[in-house]
Symmetry: C2
Subunit: 286 residues, 2 copies
DNA sequence: CTTGTAGATTGTCATGAATCAATTTTTTCT
DNA sequence: AGAAAAAATTGATTCATGACAATCTACAAG
């Protein structure tokens, strides 16, 4: 286990992003660390990929924003002084699986930077019916649209697996936006892209049948959310139902169908896409 | 007819907003103009309300942004110099009913300020299926989310009745945002509220049955869009279908039902809400 | 005046998808 | 490890909704 920690120490010291993790292991560590301990690199890479979340969290404790590898790309345009200011006004918190990070309707006192894990952003409708807007993984902000509206959360966020976030004081955050034009512009881009993402979901949810909706969701989860978990989609059927706007029962039914047609592989609660072309075709056929 | 023009000249000179129009007529004009010409104020107000759009457009031609009563409230925080800069880089254009103002997918060269009329903002899905995101009336901006993303329009906009807009050069607009912090902040608020509006629509469109969806839409149209047209909702069934995400046939069916129950009154293609409480109840019952 | 066209209306019908209930599997907690 | 709880599965049933077709209406163009 210590080998992982060494790997992650190295990562945080070198400011590596999630994406360059595997590259880095292959290039820098294989000779010196891995072979010395008799580990096969490909196994280590796979293990690290699957357990990345756990070790990441270890490294994030007490991390200064200036050196944190998991800070938002938006923060890259900030000066050291600005980062230090944010660092002094942040709290790093770990949430366990299933815990609510943000509650819809609650007043917003902090901007939340999501630093590790996976969470679902959902709106609570009338009568137990939730709709998952999107899943969140590092690095992203939570509660974006409310920040410049009326400082109220318009969606809830719940940890799907153990996750950690940084609470950043709202006033400090706004102050930095006011004083750094590039940062302000980046933040506007973020809000804008968020809005555009919703447009695409509108289409899917209102005009496609359940086959198309589930196909779209599987593609989304495969490509955007579980892409750094070896594309192993680990979600409850209920969560998938809330993402696609269909009933849990229907999700199960269609997943079975897809498994029979060998479009996906279903091992316990872990889903893996086997035939992406077919999924895309199903999505396009509506 | 000239009485109207006088009224509107007065409005534009005094920088009156839409909302204070009726107040203004009662307070300032009734004695001097209306009685002198033998008109009954309440009739005039009603007529002006119903035909506001036509006369408004007359007044907007060649209007300098500095004195334009229909400019966005956002522009109120701009200095005269900034308004003058925008004025020099804008084009005022009138669109006839049914014409496309903005086409989804097209590159965005200008920010568009909607100055009179009513238009529908919709996303074009696969296979002729459109979804109306919202109706637009003065004063508002078009193409908001794309401005700070990749300068592409992510929705189409079509005039529902004769409408006029101002095309403002995108670079000039961004320059003003960069240099005026208050304006930048206002604009962020605008984008944010836009996003929040979509959240509420998600709920409605994914979790309510057609009765609830139509009720919601009628409430929206009554309160937010046709509120300055004497609450006379004038839309084609097709437009209402695209707004509610249901088929045209179903719209007609439910409207008939509502008419029978005297919740609405349907005179030709003009719908008026008679029993708002009932509509709200239908909406809540989902 | 008449003719054409687009939109509105109405009823019927097929079907997609949710609900319900009963059973099995998996996960979690002690 | 074993019990309890939660989640997943499955089939049967019901209902809501969209699609189609035929007719009607109103407005515009010739």
């Amino acid at each position: 286990m210590t080998i992982y920690k060494e790997v992650f120490q190295a990562i945080s010291l070198h400011h590596l992003t999630n994406l360059s993790l595997v590259d880095y292991i292959c290039r820098e560590l294989s000779a010196s660390l891995i072979y010395r301990k008799g580990l096969i690199p490909s196994d280590l890479i796979q293990d690290v990929q699957c357990n990345k979340n756990y070790f990441l969290m270890e490294c994030l404790k007490d991390m200064n924003c200036r050196f944190c590898s998991m800070k938002s790309p938006l923060f890259k345009v900030l000066s050291d002084a600005e980062l230090e200011l944010i660092n002094c006004n942040k709290r790093h918190v770990v949430f366990r699986k299933g815990e609510i990070i943000v509650k819809q309707g609650a007043p917003m006192s902090h901007v939340i930077s999501f630093t590790s894990g996976i969470a679902k952003v959902y709106i609570e409708g009338s009568g137990d019916r939730n709709l998952v807007l999107q899943f969140i993984k590092p690095t992203n902000f939570l509660g974006a649209p409310g920040i410049y509206a009326d400082q109220v959360h318009y969606s809830s966020v719940r940890a799907v697996e153990e996750s950690s976030v940084c609470f950043i004081d709202l006033h400090v955050f706004k102050q930095v936006i006011r004083e750094n034009k590039r940062f302000a512009e980046s933040f506007m881009e973020l809000i804008s892209w968020d809005g555009i993402f919703n447009y695409e979901r509108f289409n899917c949810l209102t005009h496609k049948n359940i086959h198309g909706r589930l196909a779209d969701s599987l593609i989304y989860l495969h490509e955007k959310i579980f892409n750094d978990r070896g594309n192993k989609i680990a979600l409850s059927r209920q969560d998938m139902a809330e993402l696609t706007g269909m009933s849990k029962d229907s999700v199960i039914r269609i997943l079975k169908e897809l498994e029979k047609e060998e479009v996906i592989e279903n091992d316990g609660s872990i889903i893996q896409v086997k035939n992406m072309d077919r999924l895309i075709k199903i999505s396009e056929l509506s």
